[in-house]
Symmetry: C2
Subunit: 232 residues, 2 copies
Amino acid sequence: MHRTRIRVVEDALDANNTIARANRADFDRARVTVVNLMSAPGAGKTAILERVIGELQGVSVGVLEGDVQGSLDAERLAGLHVPVTQLNTDPGFGGECHLDANMVRSALDSLPLSEIDLLVIENVGNLVCPAEFSVGEDARVMVSSVTEGEDKPLKYPLMFRTAQLVLINKVDLLPHLEFDLEHFLYNLDQVNPGVDRILLSARSGEGTGALCDWLTRLATPAGGGVREEVAM
Amino acid sequence: MHRTRIRVVEDALDANNTIARANRADFDRARVTVVNLMSAPGAGKTAILERVIGELQGVSVGVLEGDVQGSLDAERLAGLHVPVTQLNTDPGFGGECHLDANMVRSALDSLPLSEIDLLVIENVGNLVCPAEFSVGEDARVMVSSVTEGEDKPLKYPLMFRTAQLVLINKVDLLPHLEFDLEHFLYNLDQVNPGVDRILLSARSGEGTGALCDWLTRLATPAGGGVREEVAM
Protein backbone atom coordinates (compact mmCIF):
# COMPACT_ATOMS: atom_id res chain seq x y z
CA MET A 1 0.00 0.00 0.00
CA HIS A 2 3.04 2.24 0.07
CA ARG A 3 3.87 1.97 -3.60
CA THR A 4 4.54 5.21 -5.40
CA ARG A 5 3.18 6.02 -8.85
CA ILE A 6 6.52 5.22 -10.46
CA ARG A 7 6.49 1.81 -8.87
CA VAL A 8 3.15 1.05 -10.50
CA VAL A 9 4.52 2.03 -13.89
CA GLU A 10 7.45 -0.30 -13.41
CA ASP A 11 5.08 -3.11 -12.51
CA ALA A 12 3.10 -2.52 -15.66
CA LEU A 13 6.27 -2.60 -17.75
CA ASP A 14 7.40 -5.74 -15.93
CA ALA A 15 4.13 -7.49 -16.79
CA ASN A 16 4.52 -6.27 -20.35
CA ASN A 17 8.02 -7.75 -20.55
CA THR A 18 6.80 -11.10 -19.22
CA ILE A 19 4.22 -11.27 -22.00
CA ALA A 20 6.73 -9.98 -24.58
CA ARG A 21 9.05 -12.88 -23.70
CA ALA A 22 6.16 -15.31 -24.20
CA ASN A 23 5.44 -13.74 -27.60
CA ARG A 24 9.09 -13.99 -28.53
CA ALA A 25 9.19 -17.66 -27.56
CA ASP A 26 6.18 -18.33 -29.78
CA PHE A 27 7.71 -16.40 -32.67
CA ASP A 28 11.00 -18.27 -32.25
CA ARG A 29 9.24 -21.64 -32.21
CA ALA A 30 7.52 -20.68 -35.47
CA ARG A 31 10.85 -19.40 -36.88
CA VAL A 32 9.33 -16.00 -37.55
CA THR A 33 11.47 -12.88 -37.30
CA VAL A 34 9.53 -9.90 -35.96
CA VAL A 35 10.08 -6.22 -36.69
CA ASN A 36 8.39 -3.52 -34.64
CA LEU A 37 7.95 -0.60 -37.09
CA MET A 38 7.46 2.77 -35.43
CA SER A 39 7.30 6.47 -36.34
CA ALA A 40 5.38 9.69 -35.89
CA PRO A 41 2.01 9.91 -37.66
CA GLY A 42 2.45 10.39 -41.39
CA ALA A 43 6.18 9.59 -41.54
CA GLY A 44 5.52 6.92 -44.15
CA LYS A 45 5.45 3.50 -42.46
CA THR A 46 2.68 2.15 -44.66
CA ALA A 47 4.06 3.74 -47.84
CA ILE A 48 7.41 2.07 -47.14
CA LEU A 49 5.73 -1.31 -46.65
CA GLU A 50 3.74 -0.83 -49.86
CA ARG A 51 6.99 -0.31 -51.69
CA VAL A 52 9.22 -2.89 -50.01
CA ILE A 53 7.04 -5.94 -49.50
CA GLY A 54 6.77 -6.55 -53.23
CA GLU A 55 10.53 -6.20 -53.66
CA LEU A 56 11.54 -8.70 -50.95
CA GLN A 57 12.77 -11.93 -52.56
CA GLY A 58 12.63 -15.25 -50.77
CA VAL A 59 11.12 -13.85 -47.57
CA SER A 60 7.43 -14.41 -46.87
CA VAL A 61 6.00 -11.40 -45.05
CA GLY A 62 2.96 -10.89 -42.85
CA VAL A 63 1.81 -7.60 -41.38
CA LEU A 64 0.10 -6.76 -38.11
CA GLU A 65 -1.45 -3.30 -38.43
CA GLY A 66 -1.84 -1.33 -35.21
CA ASP A 67 -4.20 1.64 -35.32
CA VAL A 68 -6.30 3.55 -32.84
CA GLN A 69 -9.28 3.11 -35.12
CA GLY A 70 -10.19 1.92 -38.60
CA SER A 71 -8.33 -0.24 -41.10
CA LEU A 72 -7.16 2.27 -43.73
CA ASP A 73 -3.56 1.03 -43.70
CA ALA A 74 -4.56 -2.62 -43.83
CA GLU A 75 -6.69 -1.83 -46.89
CA ARG A 76 -3.73 -0.12 -48.55
CA LEU A 77 -1.68 -3.28 -48.09
CA ALA A 78 -4.42 -5.64 -49.24
CA GLY A 79 -3.29 -5.42 -52.86
CA LEU A 80 0.11 -6.87 -51.98
CA HIS A 81 -1.35 -10.33 -51.39
CA VAL A 82 0.34 -10.86 -48.05
CA PRO A 83 -1.53 -11.74 -44.86
CA VAL A 84 -2.54 -8.57 -42.98
CA THR A 85 -4.16 -8.57 -39.54
CA GLN A 86 -5.75 -5.43 -38.10
CA LEU A 87 -5.40 -4.60 -34.41
CA ASN A 88 -7.32 -1.59 -33.06
CA THR A 89 -6.40 -0.06 -29.72
CA ASP A 90 -9.56 1.94 -28.98
CA PRO A 91 -11.59 0.52 -26.12
CA GLY A 92 -14.34 3.15 -26.48
CA PHE A 93 -12.03 5.69 -24.82
CA GLY A 94 -9.69 7.81 -26.92
CA GLY A 95 -7.63 4.74 -27.80
CA GLU A 96 -4.25 3.52 -26.61
CA CYS A 97 -1.39 5.41 -28.23
CA HIS A 98 0.83 2.34 -28.62
CA LEU A 99 0.83 -1.41 -28.95
CA ASP A 100 1.86 -3.46 -25.95
CA ALA A 101 2.81 -7.11 -25.65
CA ASN A 102 -0.64 -8.20 -24.52
CA MET A 103 -2.36 -6.56 -27.49
CA VAL A 104 0.02 -8.36 -29.84
CA ARG A 105 -0.56 -11.59 -27.92
CA SER A 106 -4.31 -11.21 -28.45
CA ALA A 107 -3.63 -11.25 -32.20
CA LEU A 108 -1.34 -14.31 -32.25
CA ASP A 109 -4.11 -16.76 -33.16
CA SER A 110 -5.01 -14.59 -36.16
CA LEU A 111 -1.46 -14.54 -37.51
CA PRO A 112 -0.49 -17.24 -40.04
CA LEU A 113 2.91 -17.80 -38.37
CA SER A 114 3.50 -21.11 -40.14
CA GLU A 115 3.28 -19.40 -43.53
CA ILE A 116 5.62 -16.44 -42.98
CA ASP A 117 9.29 -15.74 -42.29
CA LEU A 118 8.98 -12.10 -41.30
CA LEU A 119 6.22 -10.38 -39.33
CA VAL A 120 6.15 -6.60 -39.52
CA ILE A 121 4.18 -5.01 -36.70
CA GLU A 122 3.20 -1.50 -37.77
CA ASN A 123 2.78 0.32 -34.48
CA VAL A 124 0.51 3.31 -33.75
CA GLY A 125 2.00 6.56 -35.07
CA ASN A 126 3.68 8.05 -31.99
CA LEU A 127 7.29 8.80 -31.03
CA VAL A 128 6.88 8.37 -27.26
CA CYS A 129 5.03 5.41 -25.76
CA PRO A 130 5.59 2.70 -28.41
CA ALA A 131 9.29 2.83 -27.48
CA GLU A 132 8.47 1.90 -23.90
CA PHE A 133 6.67 -1.35 -24.70
CA SER A 134 8.43 -4.37 -26.11
CA VAL A 135 6.02 -6.59 -27.98
CA GLY A 136 8.43 -9.51 -28.40
CA GLU A 137 10.15 -8.17 -31.51
CA ASP A 138 13.60 -9.16 -32.81
CA ALA A 139 14.35 -5.65 -34.01
CA ARG A 140 12.95 -2.16 -33.88
CA VAL A 141 12.88 -0.14 -37.06
CA MET A 142 11.83 3.47 -36.88
CA VAL A 143 11.02 5.97 -39.59
CA SER A 144 11.89 9.65 -39.28
CA SER A 145 10.76 11.88 -42.14
CA VAL A 146 12.97 14.76 -43.23
CA THR A 147 9.89 17.00 -43.08
CA GLU A 148 9.85 16.59 -39.28
CA GLY A 149 13.07 18.51 -38.63
CA GLU A 150 16.59 17.77 -37.40
CA ASP A 151 15.79 17.96 -33.69
CA LYS A 152 13.66 14.84 -33.36
CA PRO A 153 16.37 12.47 -31.99
CA LEU A 154 16.97 14.92 -29.13
CA LYS A 155 13.27 15.44 -28.43
CA TYR A 156 12.25 11.78 -28.51
CA PRO A 157 15.48 10.07 -27.39
CA LEU A 158 14.06 6.76 -26.16
CA MET A 159 12.53 6.01 -29.56
CA PHE A 160 15.76 6.74 -31.43
CA ARG A 161 17.94 5.06 -28.79
CA THR A 162 16.09 1.72 -28.87
CA ALA A 163 15.96 1.39 -32.66
CA GLN A 164 18.25 -1.03 -34.53
CA LEU A 165 17.56 0.75 -37.81
CA VAL A 166 16.52 4.33 -38.55
CA LEU A 167 14.89 4.98 -41.91
CA ILE A 168 15.23 8.60 -42.99
CA ASN A 169 12.25 8.92 -45.30
CA LYS A 170 10.99 11.42 -47.89
CA VAL A 171 14.51 12.34 -49.02
CA ASP A 172 13.01 13.20 -52.43
CA LEU A 173 11.72 16.36 -50.71
CA LEU A 174 15.18 17.50 -49.55
CA PRO A 175 15.60 20.04 -52.39
CA HIS A 176 12.44 21.80 -51.18
CA LEU A 177 13.29 21.87 -47.46
CA GLU A 178 15.81 23.58 -45.22
CA PHE A 179 16.48 20.22 -43.55
CA ASP A 180 20.17 19.86 -42.63
CA LEU A 181 20.88 16.14 -43.02
CA GLU A 182 24.32 16.34 -41.39
CA HIS A 183 22.80 18.02 -38.36
CA PHE A 184 20.12 15.32 -38.11
CA LEU A 185 22.75 12.56 -38.32
CA TYR A 186 24.84 14.31 -35.68
CA ASN A 187 21.81 14.42 -33.36
CA LEU A 188 21.04 10.78 -34.14
CA ASP A 189 24.58 9.72 -33.21
CA GLN A 190 24.27 11.68 -29.97
CA VAL A 191 21.47 9.38 -28.78
CA ASN A 192 22.30 6.15 -30.65
CA PRO A 193 25.90 6.25 -31.91
CA GLY A 194 26.48 4.37 -35.14
CA VAL A 195 22.96 2.94 -35.40
CA ASP A 196 22.16 1.55 -38.84
CA ARG A 197 20.48 4.17 -41.01
CA ILE A 198 19.13 4.22 -44.56
CA LEU A 199 18.20 7.27 -46.62
CA LEU A 200 14.90 6.40 -48.19
CA SER A 201 12.12 7.68 -50.39
CA ALA A 202 9.02 5.54 -50.50
CA ARG A 203 7.91 7.70 -53.42
CA SER A 204 11.00 7.49 -55.65
CA GLY A 205 12.19 4.10 -54.44
CA GLU A 206 15.60 5.39 -53.34
CA GLY A 207 17.00 3.21 -50.59
CA THR A 208 14.37 0.49 -50.77
CA GLY A 209 16.97 -1.99 -52.04
CA ALA A 210 19.12 -1.34 -48.98
CA LEU A 211 16.10 -1.83 -46.74
CA CYS A 212 15.25 -5.12 -48.46
CA ASP A 213 18.83 -6.29 -47.89
CA TRP A 214 18.68 -5.30 -44.21
CA LEU A 215 15.38 -7.12 -43.66
CA THR A 216 16.56 -10.19 -45.54
CA ARG A 217 19.70 -10.41 -43.40
CA LEU A 218 17.57 -10.07 -40.28
CA ALA A 219 15.11 -12.74 -41.36
CA THR A 220 17.70 -15.32 -42.34
CA PRO A 221 19.49 -17.43 -39.69
CA ALA A 222 22.91 -15.90 -40.31
CA GLY A 223 21.43 -12.49 -39.61
CA GLY A 224 20.12 -13.41 -36.18
CA GLY A 225 22.81 -11.42 -34.40
CA VAL A 226 20.62 -8.37 -34.05
CA ARG A 227 18.02 -10.32 -32.11
CA GLU A 228 19.69 -10.03 -28.74
CA GLU A 229 19.91 -6.25 -28.88
CA VAL A 230 16.31 -5.57 -27.93
CA ALA A 231 16.14 -5.39 -24.15
CA MET A 232 13.10 -6.95 -22.54
CA MET B 1 -12.24 -3.83 -5.40
CA HIS B 2 -14.32 -4.92 -8.37
CA ARG B 3 -13.34 -2.10 -10.65
CA THR B 4 -12.33 -3.00 -14.17
CA ARG B 5 -9.38 -1.45 -15.97
CA ILE B 6 -11.63 0.89 -17.94
CA ARG B 7 -13.12 2.16 -14.71
CA VAL B 8 -9.65 3.15 -13.50
CA VAL B 9 -9.05 5.08 -16.70
CA GLU B 10 -12.32 6.94 -16.22
CA ASP B 11 -11.35 7.80 -12.67
CA ALA B 12 -8.03 9.17 -13.87
CA LEU B 13 -9.82 11.31 -16.45
CA ASP B 14 -12.31 12.45 -13.82
CA ALA B 15 -9.49 13.58 -11.52
CA ASN B 16 -7.88 15.29 -14.49
CA ASN B 17 -11.08 17.18 -15.24
CA THR B 18 -11.37 18.30 -11.63
CA ILE B 19 -7.90 19.81 -11.79
CA ALA B 20 -8.54 21.23 -15.27
CA ARG B 21 -11.56 23.13 -13.89
CA ALA B 22 -9.38 24.52 -11.11
CA ASN B 23 -6.80 25.63 -13.70
CA ARG B 24 -9.54 27.22 -15.78
CA ALA B 25 -10.87 29.11 -12.76
CA ASP B 26 -7.38 30.47 -12.06
CA PHE B 27 -6.90 31.46 -15.70
CA ASP B 28 -10.30 33.17 -15.75
CA ARG B 29 -9.54 35.08 -12.55
CA ALA B 30 -6.32 36.32 -14.15
CA ARG B 31 -8.22 37.12 -17.41
CA VAL B 32 -5.88 34.91 -19.39
CA THR B 33 -7.16 33.04 -22.43
CA VAL B 34 -5.51 29.65 -22.87
CA VAL B 35 -4.86 27.74 -26.07
CA ASN B 36 -3.81 24.08 -26.02
CA LEU B 37 -1.66 23.67 -29.15
CA MET B 38 -1.30 20.10 -30.35
CA SER B 39 0.06 18.14 -33.32
CA ALA B 40 2.17 15.20 -34.40
CA PRO B 41 5.95 15.57 -33.91
CA GLY B 42 7.44 17.89 -36.49
CA ALA B 43 4.16 19.36 -37.78
CA GLY B 44 5.41 22.86 -37.03
CA LYS B 45 3.90 24.03 -33.72
CA THR B 46 7.04 25.90 -32.65
CA ALA B 47 7.71 27.29 -36.13
CA ILE B 48 4.16 28.68 -36.19
CA LEU B 49 4.64 30.31 -32.79
CA GLU B 50 7.97 31.79 -33.92
CA ARG B 51 6.16 33.37 -36.83
CA VAL B 52 2.91 34.47 -35.19
CA ILE B 53 3.89 35.75 -31.75
CA GLY B 54 5.76 38.69 -33.24
CA GLU B 55 2.81 39.54 -35.50
CA LEU B 56 0.16 39.62 -32.78
CA GLN B 57 -0.82 43.20 -32.01
CA GLY B 58 -2.24 44.23 -28.66
CA VAL B 59 -2.19 40.74 -27.18
CA SER B 60 0.52 39.85 -24.65
CA VAL B 61 1.51 36.22 -25.08
CA GLY B 62 3.15 33.70 -22.78
CA VAL B 63 4.14 30.16 -23.72
CA LEU B 64 4.23 26.95 -21.71
CA GLU B 65 6.45 24.47 -23.55
CA GLY B 66 5.67 20.80 -22.98
CA ASP B 67 8.36 18.33 -23.98
CA VAL B 68 9.39 14.85 -22.96
CA GLN B 69 12.92 16.09 -22.46
CA GLY B 70 15.11 19.12 -23.11
CA SER B 71 14.25 22.73 -23.84
CA LEU B 72 15.02 23.07 -27.55
CA ASP B 73 11.68 24.68 -28.40
CA ALA B 74 11.82 27.08 -25.46
CA GLU B 75 15.25 28.18 -26.66
CA ARG B 76 13.88 28.78 -30.16
CA LEU B 77 11.23 31.09 -28.68
CA ALA B 78 13.63 32.94 -26.37
CA GLY B 79 14.42 35.54 -29.03
CA LEU B 80 10.78 36.65 -29.17
CA HIS B 81 11.01 38.31 -25.75
CA VAL B 82 7.87 36.73 -24.37
CA PRO B 83 7.77 34.71 -21.15
CA VAL B 84 8.41 31.01 -21.84
CA THR B 85 8.15 28.29 -19.20
CA GLN B 86 9.51 24.80 -19.84
CA LEU B 87 7.63 21.75 -18.57
CA ASN B 88 9.27 18.33 -19.02
CA THR B 89 7.24 15.15 -18.71
CA ASP B 90 10.00 12.59 -18.19
CA PRO B 91 10.11 11.17 -14.67
CA GLY B 92 13.19 9.07 -15.40
CA PHE B 93 10.97 6.66 -17.34
CA GLY B 94 10.40 7.09 -21.08
CA GLY B 95 8.40 10.25 -20.42
CA GLU B 96 4.70 10.98 -20.53
CA CYS B 97 3.41 11.41 -24.07
CA HIS B 98 1.04 14.27 -23.20
CA LEU B 99 0.40 17.09 -20.78
CA ASP B 100 -2.33 16.65 -18.22
CA ALA B 101 -4.08 19.17 -15.98
CA ASN B 102 -1.90 18.40 -12.97
CA MET B 103 1.33 18.95 -14.90
CA VAL B 104 0.05 22.32 -16.06
CA ARG B 105 -1.08 23.10 -12.51
CA SER B 106 2.45 22.42 -11.28
CA ALA B 107 3.65 25.18 -13.59
CA LEU B 108 1.07 27.80 -12.59
CA ASP B 109 3.34 29.53 -10.09
CA SER B 110 6.00 29.93 -12.79
CA LEU B 111 3.62 31.57 -15.24
CA PRO B 112 3.40 35.38 -15.21
CA LEU B 113 -0.39 35.35 -15.55
CA SER B 114 -0.76 38.97 -14.50
CA GLU B 115 1.41 40.08 -17.43
CA ILE B 116 -0.22 38.17 -20.28
CA ASP B 117 -3.55 38.00 -22.14
CA LEU B 118 -2.97 34.74 -23.96
CA LEU B 119 -1.18 31.61 -22.78
CA VAL B 120 -0.23 29.11 -25.47
CA ILE B 121 0.46 25.65 -24.09
CA GLU B 122 2.54 23.75 -26.63
CA ASN B 123 1.73 20.12 -25.92
CA VAL B 124 3.95 17.08 -26.50
CA GLY B 125 4.01 16.09 -30.18
CA ASN B 126 1.43 13.29 -30.33
CA LEU B 127 -1.94 12.86 -32.05
CA VAL B 128 -3.47 10.48 -29.50
CA CYS B 129 -3.25 11.08 -25.76
CA PRO B 130 -3.05 14.89 -25.59
CA ALA B 131 -6.62 14.96 -26.94
CA GLU B 132 -7.82 12.95 -23.95
CA PHE B 133 -6.61 15.34 -21.28
CA SER B 134 -8.10 18.78 -20.79
CA VAL B 135 -5.59 21.09 -19.13
CA GLY B 136 -8.08 23.92 -18.49
CA GLU B 137 -7.79 25.50 -21.93
CA ASP B 138 -10.31 27.81 -23.58
CA ALA B 139 -9.65 26.40 -27.03
CA ARG B 140 -7.77 23.59 -28.71
CA VAL B 141 -5.77 24.39 -31.80
CA MET B 142 -4.18 21.55 -33.70
CA VAL B 143 -1.67 21.52 -36.52
CA SER B 144 -1.77 18.97 -39.31
CA SER B 145 1.01 19.16 -41.86
CA VAL B 146 0.26 18.40 -45.50
CA THR B 147 3.30 16.09 -45.50
CA GLU B 148 1.43 13.75 -43.13
CA GLY B 149 -1.21 12.65 -45.64
CA GLU B 150 -4.95 13.06 -46.14
CA ASP B 151 -5.99 10.20 -43.88
CA LYS B 152 -5.00 11.66 -40.52
CA PRO B 153 -8.45 12.92 -39.42
CA LEU B 154 -9.81 9.39 -39.85
CA LYS B 155 -6.87 7.76 -38.07
CA TYR B 156 -6.73 10.13 -35.09
CA PRO B 157 -10.38 11.20 -34.85
CA LEU B 158 -10.47 12.34 -31.20
CA MET B 159 -7.71 14.89 -31.81
CA PHE B 160 -9.42 16.36 -34.86
CA ARG B 161 -12.91 16.15 -33.30
CA THR B 162 -12.01 18.11 -30.16
CA ALA B 163 -10.16 20.95 -31.93
CA GLN B 164 -11.75 24.38 -32.36
CA LEU B 165 -9.22 25.29 -35.05
CA VAL B 166 -7.22 23.11 -37.44
CA LEU B 167 -4.08 24.65 -38.93
CA ILE B 168 -3.10 22.96 -42.18
CA ASN B 169 0.61 23.70 -42.24
CA LYS B 170 3.46 23.50 -44.78
CA VAL B 171 1.18 24.40 -47.70
CA ASP B 172 4.27 25.85 -49.43
CA LEU B 173 5.24 22.20 -50.08
CA LEU B 174 1.97 21.35 -51.88
CA PRO B 175 3.50 21.65 -55.39
CA HIS B 176 5.99 18.93 -54.43
CA LEU B 177 3.51 16.49 -52.86
CA GLU B 178 0.66 14.30 -54.03
CA PHE B 179 -1.42 15.59 -51.11
CA ASP B 180 -5.09 15.99 -52.10
CA LEU B 181 -6.29 18.98 -50.09
CA GLU B 182 -9.95 18.45 -50.99
CA HIS B 183 -9.73 14.87 -49.78
CA PHE B 184 -8.16 15.99 -46.51
CA LEU B 185 -10.88 18.60 -45.95
CA TYR B 186 -13.54 16.00 -46.74
CA ASN B 187 -12.03 13.69 -44.10
CA LEU B 188 -11.79 16.58 -41.64
CA ASP B 189 -15.48 17.40 -42.09
CA GLN B 190 -16.32 13.74 -41.54
CA VAL B 191 -14.99 13.91 -37.98
CA ASN B 192 -15.51 17.62 -37.15
CA PRO B 193 -17.97 19.18 -39.62
CA GLY B 194 -17.32 22.84 -40.35
CA VAL B 195 -14.52 23.26 -37.82
CA ASP B 196 -12.48 26.44 -38.35
CA ARG B 197 -9.46 25.76 -40.55
CA ILE B 198 -6.61 27.90 -41.86
CA LEU B 199 -4.19 27.02 -44.64
CA LEU B 200 -0.81 28.00 -43.34
CA SER B 201 2.87 28.06 -44.09
CA ALA B 202 5.12 28.96 -41.19
CA ARG B 203 7.90 29.23 -43.76
CA SER B 204 6.29 31.58 -46.29
CA GLY B 205 3.97 33.33 -43.85
CA GLU B 206 0.83 32.41 -45.78
CA GLY B 207 -2.16 32.31 -43.43
CA THR B 208 -0.39 33.73 -40.39
CA GLY B 209 -2.52 36.89 -40.59
CA ALA B 210 -5.68 34.79 -40.41
CA LEU B 211 -4.27 32.93 -37.42
CA CYS B 212 -3.43 36.21 -35.67
CA ASP B 213 -7.01 37.39 -36.25
CA TRP B 214 -8.42 34.14 -34.88
CA LEU B 215 -6.24 34.29 -31.74
CA THR B 216 -7.01 37.97 -31.20
CA ARG B 217 -10.75 37.31 -31.39
CA LEU B 218 -10.34 34.45 -28.91
CA ALA B 219 -8.29 36.52 -26.48
CA THR B 220 -10.60 39.56 -26.44
CA PRO B 221 -13.81 39.55 -24.38
CA ALA B 222 -16.14 39.66 -27.41
CA GLY B 223 -14.53 36.50 -28.67
CA GLY B 224 -15.22 34.52 -25.53
CA GLY B 225 -17.95 32.50 -27.18
CA VAL B 226 -15.59 29.69 -28.08
CA ARG B 227 -14.69 29.14 -24.48
CA GLU B 228 -17.67 26.95 -23.64
CA GLU B 229 -16.98 24.51 -26.45
CA VAL B 230 -14.20 22.58 -24.71
CA ALA B 231 -15.85 19.81 -22.73
CA MET B 232 -14.34 19.08 -19.33
